[in-house]
Protein backbone atom coordinates (compact mmCIF):
# COMPACT_ATOMS: atom_id res chain seq x y z
CA UNK A 1 0.00 0.00 0.00
CA UNK A 2 2.59 2.48 1.07
CA UNK A 3 4.77 1.78 -1.95
CA UNK A 4 1.87 2.57 -4.23
CA UNK A 5 1.58 6.03 -2.79
CA UNK A 6 5.28 6.69 -3.23
CA UNK A 7 5.07 5.58 -6.85
CA UNK A 8 2.90 8.59 -7.62
CA UNK A 9 5.56 10.95 -6.41
CA UNK A 10 5.05 13.91 -4.10
CA UNK A 11 1.48 15.21 -4.16
CA UNK A 12 0.81 18.91 -3.78
CA UNK A 13 -1.78 19.54 -1.04
CA UNK A 14 -4.92 21.24 -2.37
CA UNK A 15 -7.74 22.95 -0.58
CA UNK A 16 -11.28 22.29 -1.70
CA UNK A 17 -12.52 25.74 -2.54
CA UNK A 18 -16.03 24.85 -3.65
CA UNK A 19 -17.93 25.28 -0.34
CA UNK A 20 -16.07 28.52 0.35
CA UNK A 21 -17.10 29.95 -3.00
CA UNK A 22 -20.68 28.76 -2.46
CA UNK A 23 -20.95 30.53 0.85
CA UNK A 24 -19.30 33.68 -0.44
CA UNK A 25 -21.70 33.92 -3.36
CA UNK A 26 -24.65 33.51 -1.01
CA UNK A 27 -23.32 36.34 1.13
CA UNK A 28 -22.81 38.60 -1.88
CA UNK A 29 -26.33 38.00 -3.14
CA UNK A 30 -27.72 38.61 0.37
CA UNK A 31 -25.93 41.92 0.81
CA UNK A 32 -26.81 43.10 -2.69
CA UNK A 33 -30.49 42.50 -2.04
CA UNK A 34 -30.47 43.98 1.46
CA UNK A 35 -28.61 47.01 0.19
CA UNK A 36 -31.20 47.62 -2.48
CA UNK A 37 -34.06 47.37 -0.02
CA UNK A 38 -32.42 49.74 2.45
CA UNK A 39 -31.62 52.26 -0.28
CA UNK A 40 -35.19 52.13 -1.59
CA UNK A 41 -36.75 52.64 1.82
CA UNK A 42 -34.58 55.37 3.26
CA UNK A 43 -34.74 58.75 1.67
CA UNK A 44 -31.68 60.93 2.15
CA UNK A 45 -32.27 63.27 5.07
CA UNK A 46 -30.99 64.38 8.45
CA UNK A 47 -33.25 63.01 11.16
CA UNK A 48 -33.40 65.05 14.39
CA UNK A 49 -30.25 65.18 16.47
CA UNK A 50 -31.20 65.27 20.13
CA UNK A 51 -29.75 66.62 23.34
CA UNK A 52 -29.09 63.62 25.58
CA UNK A 53 -30.96 61.18 23.31
CA UNK A 54 -33.06 58.32 24.65
CA UNK A 55 -33.18 56.62 21.28
CA UNK A 56 -32.74 52.88 21.13
CA UNK A 57 -31.64 50.49 18.41
CA UNK A 58 -34.35 49.56 15.94
CA UNK A 59 -33.86 45.82 16.39
CA UNK A 60 -35.65 43.17 14.44
CA UNK A 61 -39.28 43.94 13.74
CA UNK A 62 -41.93 43.93 11.10
CA UNK A 63 -41.78 47.55 10.05
CA UNK A 64 -42.99 50.08 7.55
CA UNK A 65 -41.14 53.36 7.21
CA UNK A 66 -43.05 56.58 6.61
CA UNK A 67 -40.57 59.10 5.21
CA UNK A 68 -41.38 62.81 5.11
CA UNK A 69 -39.04 64.04 2.40
CA UNK A 70 -37.17 67.32 2.67
CA UNK A 71 -36.11 69.56 -0.20
CA UNK A 72 -33.12 67.82 -1.75
CA UNK A 73 -29.69 68.82 -0.51
CA UNK A 74 -26.07 67.86 -0.82
CA UNK A 75 -23.45 67.66 1.89
CA UNK A 76 -22.03 70.94 0.58
CA UNK A 77 -25.02 73.24 0.65
CA UNK A 78 -26.37 72.28 4.06
CA UNK A 79 -25.10 73.35 7.48
CA UNK A 80 -23.77 70.17 9.12
CA UNK A 81 -23.80 71.59 12.65
CA UNK A 82 -27.35 72.91 12.43
CA UNK A 83 -29.56 70.49 10.47
CA UNK A 84 -32.64 72.56 11.33
CA UNK A 85 -31.25 75.38 9.19
CA UNK A 86 -32.75 74.23 5.91
CA UNK A 87 -35.90 74.64 3.84
CA UNK A 88 -38.84 73.93 6.14
CA UNK A 89 -41.22 72.45 3.59
CA UNK A 90 -41.74 68.79 2.80
CA UNK A 91 -41.80 67.74 -0.84
CA UNK A 92 -43.47 64.37 -0.44
CA UNK A 93 -44.27 61.40 1.74
CA UNK A 94 -43.00 57.90 1.09
CA UNK A 95 -44.85 55.03 2.74
CA UNK A 96 -42.84 51.85 2.35
CA UNK A 97 -41.88 52.01 -1.31
CA UNK A 98 -44.80 54.14 -2.48
CA UNK A 99 -44.72 57.90 -3.00
CA UNK A 100 -47.48 60.30 -2.04
CA UNK A 101 -48.05 64.04 -2.07
CA UNK A 102 -47.77 65.77 1.32
CA UNK A 103 -51.45 66.67 1.51
CA UNK A 104 -52.74 63.31 0.32
CA UNK A 105 -53.70 62.07 3.80
CA UNK A 106 -56.43 59.73 2.63
CA UNK A 107 -54.14 57.83 0.26
CA UNK A 108 -51.50 57.57 3.00
CA UNK A 109 -54.09 56.19 5.42
CA UNK A 110 -55.28 53.75 2.77
CA UNK A 111 -51.73 52.53 2.07
CA UNK A 112 -51.08 52.00 5.78
CA UNK A 113 -54.34 50.16 6.28
CA UNK A 114 -53.40 47.86 3.43
CA UNK A 115 -49.94 47.30 4.92
CA UNK A 116 -51.48 46.47 8.31
CA UNK A 117 -53.95 44.03 6.78
CA UNK A 118 -51.15 42.26 4.88
CA UNK A 119 -48.76 42.08 7.82
CA UNK A 120 -48.26 38.94 9.91
CA UNK A 121 -50.42 38.59 13.01
CA UNK A 122 -49.42 38.01 16.60
CA UNK A 123 -51.06 35.26 18.63
CA UNK A 124 -53.82 37.58 19.81
CA UNK A 125 -54.71 38.46 16.22
CA UNK A 126 -53.21 41.93 16.34
CA UNK A 127 -50.93 43.12 13.60
CA UNK A 128 -47.22 43.03 14.40
CA UNK A 129 -46.47 45.88 12.03
CA UNK A 130 -44.55 48.80 13.55
CA UNK A 131 -44.67 52.22 11.94
CA UNK A 132 -41.49 54.28 11.83
CA UNK A 133 -41.86 58.00 11.22
CA UNK A 134 -38.72 59.35 9.61
CA UNK A 135 -38.78 63.07 8.97
CA UNK A 136 -36.06 65.61 8.32
CA UNK A 137 -34.99 67.79 11.25
CA UNK A 138 -35.75 71.00 9.34
CA UNK A 139 -39.36 70.30 8.38
CA UNK A 140 -42.10 72.36 10.04
CA UNK A 141 -44.38 70.62 12.51
CA UNK A 142 -47.54 71.54 10.60
CA UNK A 143 -46.21 69.56 7.58
CA UNK A 144 -45.63 66.45 9.71
CA UNK A 145 -48.70 66.65 11.94
CA UNK A 146 -51.14 65.78 9.08
CA UNK A 147 -48.98 62.72 8.32
CA UNK A 148 -49.25 61.65 11.98
CA UNK A 149 -53.01 62.25 11.76
CA UNK A 150 -53.13 60.03 8.65
CA UNK A 151 -51.30 57.28 10.55
CA UNK A 152 -53.77 57.65 13.44
CA UNK A 153 -56.66 57.39 11.00
CA UNK A 154 -55.34 53.97 9.93
CA UNK A 155 -56.05 52.81 13.52
CA UNK A 156 -52.40 52.75 14.45
CA UNK A 157 -51.95 53.94 18.01
CA UNK A 158 -48.20 53.92 18.33
CA UNK A 159 -45.36 55.10 16.15
CA UNK A 160 -41.60 55.17 16.47
CA UNK A 161 -39.92 58.48 15.80
CA UNK A 162 -36.57 58.08 14.10
CA UNK A 163 -33.71 60.18 15.49
CA UNK A 164 -29.97 59.79 15.71
CA UNK A 165 -28.40 57.57 18.33
CA UNK A 166 -26.07 59.20 20.88
CA UNK A 167 -22.86 60.47 19.25
CA UNK A 168 -24.17 59.89 15.75
CA UNK A 169 -25.48 62.25 13.13
CA UNK A 170 -23.96 64.89 10.87
CA UNK A 171 -22.77 67.22 13.60
CA UNK A 172 -20.68 64.63 15.41
CA UNK A 173 -18.62 63.44 12.43
Amino acid sequence: MASKIFHRGPTSPEMNMTPLIDVTFQLIIFFMLVNNIIAEESVQMFVPQLANPKTREMGEMERIVVNVKPVEFTRNNRDMDEPANWDASAIGVKVGLRDFAVGDSEAITEALKQAVSESPRAEDGKSTLEVLLRADAAIRYDEIQPVMAAITAAQIGKIHLVAYMPDEGPGSK
Binding site: M17, L20, I21, T24, F25, L27, I28, F31, M32, N35, I38, A39, S42, V47, P48, Q49, L50, A51, N52, P53, K54, T55, R56, E57, M58, V68, P83, A84, N85, W86, A88, L132, L133, R134, A135, A137, A138, I139, R140, Y141, D142, I144, Q145, M148, A149, I151, T152, A153, Q155, I156, G157, K158, I159, H160, L161, V162, A163, M165, E168, G169
Partner: protein, 177 residues
Protein backbone atom coordinates in the same frame (compact mmCIF):
# COMPACT_ATOMS: atom_id res chain seq x y z
CA UNK B 1 -31.80 15.28 -52.76
CA UNK B 2 -29.43 16.50 -50.05
CA UNK B 3 -30.52 13.56 -47.85
CA UNK B 4 -28.73 11.04 -50.05
CA UNK B 5 -25.51 13.04 -49.84
CA UNK B 6 -25.51 12.97 -46.07
CA UNK B 7 -25.39 9.18 -45.82
CA UNK B 8 -21.82 8.58 -47.02
CA UNK B 9 -20.60 11.32 -44.72
CA UNK B 10 -22.10 9.74 -41.65
CA UNK B 11 -20.32 6.48 -42.48
CA UNK B 12 -16.92 8.03 -41.79
CA UNK B 13 -17.06 6.61 -38.31
CA UNK B 14 -13.61 5.09 -38.43
CA UNK B 15 -11.69 8.35 -38.55
CA UNK B 16 -13.78 9.98 -35.83
CA UNK B 17 -13.34 7.03 -33.55
CA UNK B 18 -9.62 6.98 -34.11
CA UNK B 19 -9.24 10.64 -33.18
CA UNK B 20 -11.25 10.35 -29.99
CA UNK B 21 -9.18 7.41 -28.81
CA UNK B 22 -6.01 9.38 -29.22
CA UNK B 23 -7.24 12.42 -27.38
CA UNK B 24 -8.60 10.30 -24.52
CA UNK B 25 -5.27 8.69 -23.98
CA UNK B 26 -3.36 11.95 -23.95
CA UNK B 27 -5.83 13.67 -21.58
CA UNK B 28 -6.08 11.05 -18.92
CA UNK B 29 -2.90 11.66 -16.94
CA UNK B 30 -3.23 15.49 -16.79
CA UNK B 31 -6.18 16.44 -14.57
CA UNK B 32 -8.08 19.55 -15.55
CA UNK B 33 -7.55 22.31 -13.02
CA UNK B 34 -9.41 25.58 -12.85
CA UNK B 35 -7.40 28.40 -11.39
CA UNK B 36 -9.77 29.84 -8.80
CA UNK B 37 -7.47 32.32 -7.14
CA UNK B 38 -8.35 35.36 -9.21
CA UNK B 39 -12.06 34.63 -8.98
CA UNK B 40 -11.87 34.37 -5.21
CA UNK B 41 -9.99 37.66 -5.13
CA UNK B 42 -12.76 39.40 -7.03
CA UNK B 43 -15.50 37.80 -4.95
CA UNK B 44 -13.90 38.91 -1.72
CA UNK B 45 -13.59 42.46 -3.03
CA UNK B 46 -17.30 42.44 -3.84
CA UNK B 47 -18.16 40.92 -0.49
CA UNK B 48 -16.20 43.53 1.43
CA UNK B 49 -17.79 46.31 -0.61
CA UNK B 50 -21.33 45.15 0.12
CA UNK B 51 -20.67 44.43 3.79
CA UNK B 52 -19.31 47.94 4.26
CA UNK B 53 -22.04 49.75 2.34
CA UNK B 54 -24.89 47.74 3.88
CA UNK B 55 -24.60 49.59 7.20
CA UNK B 56 -26.28 52.51 5.47
CA UNK B 57 -28.92 53.69 7.91
CA UNK B 58 -26.80 52.92 10.97
CA UNK B 59 -26.70 55.58 13.62
CA UNK B 60 -30.42 56.08 13.56
CA UNK B 61 -32.53 54.88 16.45
CA UNK B 62 -36.14 55.12 17.51
CA UNK B 63 -38.24 56.65 20.29
CA UNK B 64 -41.71 55.22 20.66
CA UNK B 65 -44.46 57.83 20.70
CA UNK B 66 -48.20 58.13 21.00
CA UNK B 67 -50.05 59.84 18.22
CA UNK B 68 -51.60 63.32 18.27
CA UNK B 69 -54.89 63.73 20.03
CA UNK B 70 -58.20 64.66 18.51
CA UNK B 71 -57.62 63.40 14.99
CA UNK B 72 -59.65 60.31 14.25
CA UNK B 73 -59.25 57.04 16.12
CA UNK B 74 -61.25 55.98 19.13
CA UNK B 75 -61.12 58.25 22.17
CA UNK B 76 -59.53 56.73 25.27
CA UNK B 77 -62.11 55.27 27.63
CA UNK B 78 -63.48 57.52 30.36
CA UNK B 79 -60.37 58.52 32.22
CA UNK B 80 -60.92 61.13 34.92
CA UNK B 81 -60.13 64.47 33.38
CA UNK B 82 -56.68 65.61 34.36
CA UNK B 83 -55.16 68.94 33.60
CA UNK B 84 -52.29 67.87 31.36
CA UNK B 85 -48.82 69.26 31.63
CA UNK B 86 -48.45 71.31 28.48
CA UNK B 87 -45.10 72.02 26.91
CA UNK B 88 -45.43 74.89 24.49
CA UNK B 89 -42.98 75.37 21.67
CA UNK B 90 -42.79 78.42 19.48
CA UNK B 91 -40.30 79.35 16.83
CA UNK B 92 -37.71 82.08 17.08
CA UNK B 93 -35.94 83.41 14.01
CA UNK B 94 -35.70 81.10 11.02
CA UNK B 95 -34.95 77.87 12.82
CA UNK B 96 -34.67 78.71 16.53
CA UNK B 97 -37.16 77.90 19.28
CA UNK B 98 -38.66 79.08 22.58
CA UNK B 99 -39.87 76.61 25.20
CA UNK B 100 -42.56 77.24 27.76
CA UNK B 101 -44.22 75.03 30.37
CA UNK B 102 -47.81 75.99 31.04
CA UNK B 103 -48.45 77.48 34.50
CA UNK B 104 -44.72 77.68 35.19
CA UNK B 105 -43.16 81.12 35.43
CA UNK B 106 -39.63 80.18 34.36
CA UNK B 107 -38.97 79.22 30.75
CA UNK B 108 -36.27 76.67 30.02
CA UNK B 109 -33.45 77.86 27.79
CA UNK B 110 -32.74 74.55 26.08
CA UNK B 111 -33.96 70.99 26.07
CA UNK B 112 -31.56 69.74 28.73
CA UNK B 113 -32.93 72.39 31.07
CA UNK B 114 -36.46 71.41 30.07
CA UNK B 115 -35.70 67.84 31.11
CA UNK B 116 -34.32 69.03 34.45
CA UNK B 117 -37.39 71.19 35.08
CA UNK B 118 -39.74 68.37 34.17
CA UNK B 119 -37.89 66.12 36.61
CA UNK B 120 -38.39 68.79 39.29
CA UNK B 121 -42.13 68.83 38.60
CA UNK B 122 -42.45 65.07 38.94
CA UNK B 123 -43.69 63.18 41.98
CA UNK B 124 -41.65 60.00 42.44
CA UNK B 125 -40.64 59.17 46.02
CA UNK B 126 -38.37 56.35 44.82
CA UNK B 127 -36.19 58.83 43.02
CA UNK B 128 -36.63 61.55 45.63
CA UNK B 129 -38.77 63.73 43.36
CA UNK B 130 -41.43 65.72 45.16
CA UNK B 131 -43.23 67.60 42.41
CA UNK B 132 -46.95 67.67 41.68
CA UNK B 133 -47.15 65.37 38.65
CA UNK B 134 -47.00 61.59 38.70
CA UNK B 135 -44.90 59.86 36.01
CA UNK B 136 -48.05 58.72 34.20
CA UNK B 137 -49.55 62.20 34.20
CA UNK B 138 -50.38 63.24 30.65
CA UNK B 139 -47.77 65.47 29.09
CA UNK B 140 -48.73 67.17 25.85
CA UNK B 141 -46.27 68.81 23.54
CA UNK B 142 -47.90 71.75 21.79
CA UNK B 143 -45.67 73.06 19.02
CA UNK B 144 -46.55 76.00 16.84
CA UNK B 145 -46.96 75.08 13.20
CA UNK B 146 -43.69 76.63 12.11
CA UNK B 147 -41.48 74.92 14.71
CA UNK B 148 -38.91 72.62 13.14
CA UNK B 149 -39.27 68.86 13.64
CA UNK B 150 -35.87 68.72 15.33
CA UNK B 151 -37.18 70.79 18.27
CA UNK B 152 -40.44 68.84 18.51
CA UNK B 153 -38.62 65.53 18.83
CA UNK B 154 -36.15 67.15 21.23
CA UNK B 155 -38.98 68.25 23.54
CA UNK B 156 -40.43 64.75 23.35
CA UNK B 157 -37.05 63.29 24.19
CA UNK B 158 -36.74 65.63 27.18
CA UNK B 159 -40.09 64.43 28.55
CA UNK B 160 -39.01 60.81 28.10
CA UNK B 161 -35.68 61.59 29.76
CA UNK B 162 -37.59 62.94 32.78
CA UNK B 163 -39.38 59.55 32.88
CA UNK B 164 -42.87 60.66 31.94
CA UNK B 165 -44.67 57.73 30.39
CA UNK B 166 -47.72 59.40 28.89
CA UNK B 167 -46.37 61.92 26.41
CA UNK B 168 -48.28 62.87 23.29
CA UNK B 169 -48.40 65.52 20.62
CA UNK B 170 -51.08 68.12 20.12
CA UNK B 171 -52.23 69.49 16.81
CA UNK B 172 -50.21 72.40 15.53
CA UNK B 173 -51.18 75.68 17.12
CA UNK B 174 -51.36 78.84 15.07
CA UNK B 175 -47.94 80.40 14.63
CA UNK B 176 -47.62 83.68 16.47
CA UNK B 177 -44.75 84.96 14.36
Amino acid sequence: MPETQVKPNSNNDATVHHESRRSKRSQQPARMQLNLTSMIDVIFQLLIYFVVTASFAAGEGIITAKLPQGTGGAPSKAEPPKQPLNIILSSAGTFGYNIGIQNQPAAPRDFEQLATMLEGLQFDPERGRSGAYKPDHPVIIKPAGNVRWQHVVNAFNAAITARYSNVSFAQATQASN
